[in-house]
């Protein structure tokens, strides 16, 4: 078990998953066909987003771990800082988007 590679794979997969959640959330609010597709996939758009985000994280983390040849030791600190930044940005973007949407700014 390569511990640095597990952490690196998980952190990068988390960043990609966070980006996916933000993009699919904003896109689905602005595109009725996409939101309908998400609803039809599982019965509820949020359930579909939950399933896709879970699968995306697990699959990307596993792929990165098994396919990467580098241990990731030197990149651990940087990737974890990017993960923290992605969380803060994700919360800000989603909050700002729904606030703007409520006040019909877009």
């Amino acid at each position: 078990m390569n511990k640095p590679r597990i952490i690196f794979s998980s952190a990068l997969a988390a960043i990609i998953t966070n980006a996916f959640i933000v993009i699919i959330t904003v896109w689905a609010e602005l595109s009725a066909p996409l939101k309908d597709w998400l609803k039809n996939f599982s019965g509820h758009h949020w359930t579909s987003k939950s399933i896709f985000s879970f699968l995306l994280f697990m699959i990307i983390a596993a792929l990165l771990y098994f396919l990467s040849s580098q241990s990731g030791e030197n990149r651990l600190k940087r990737i974890l800082i990017f993960l923290l930044i992605s969380i803060v940005l994700g919360v800000i973007i989603i909050t700002a988007f729904y606030t703007g949407h409520h006040f019909q700014l877009f």
Partner: protein, 157 residues
């Protein structure tokens, strides 16, 4: 009322959703303390993080069931027709989506707990892992505060 019907009732679902979320938040706050205290073992950090991840998964499933089955049909119309429709449009929409950030973040913190004290020092992650554990707990608390706003809006219109 059989046990399945009891478990599927709205107050029980809300109680378990909140209860598991509190266990998850507390576990990551506890983990924060464990990372601050150099004397704590790697095994105890792994167990604490695993309890936190499991609790957040349980909260995700139970809250999701309540949200999909009851919230849209019973609670959302009350909030949308009341004096604070923003409680759904902003607070609920934000809450349900930022909740999805918790699982990947918590899993990554769980992965970091695999490192022993020496490796944490070697990779210079001691301070960063405090931020990461705090971020999981902070995100959970933010989601809890949004939940309070939504419940208040539903109760008082």
């Amino acid at each position: 009322m059989d046990i399945i019907a009891f478990l599927q009732s709205k107050p029980v679902l809300i109680g378990f959703h909140l209860g598991f979320a509190i266990i998850g938040i507390d576990a990551f706050l506890w983990l924060f303390g464990k990372f601050k205290n150099p004397g704590d073992s790697r095994r105890s950090r792994i167990i604490t993080a695993a309890i936190g991840v499991a609790a957040f998964i349980a909260s995700w499933f139970i809250g999701g069931y309540y949200y999909v089955v009851y919230y849209g049909a019973l609670v959302k119309p009350i909030i949308k027709s009341g004096f604070a429709p923003w409680a759904h449009n902003i607070a609920m929409e934000t809450k349900e989506h930022i909740f999805l950030f918790i699982f990947p973040l918590a899993m990554t913190v769980l992965a970091v707990t695999l490192l022993d004290k020496k490796e944490l020092e070697q990779f210079k992650l001691r301070r960063l892992v405090l931020w990461l554990s705090g971020a999981v707990a902070g995100l959970g608390l933010l989601i809890g505060a949004l939940g309070f706003i939504i419940s208040a809006a539903a109760r008082w219109g």
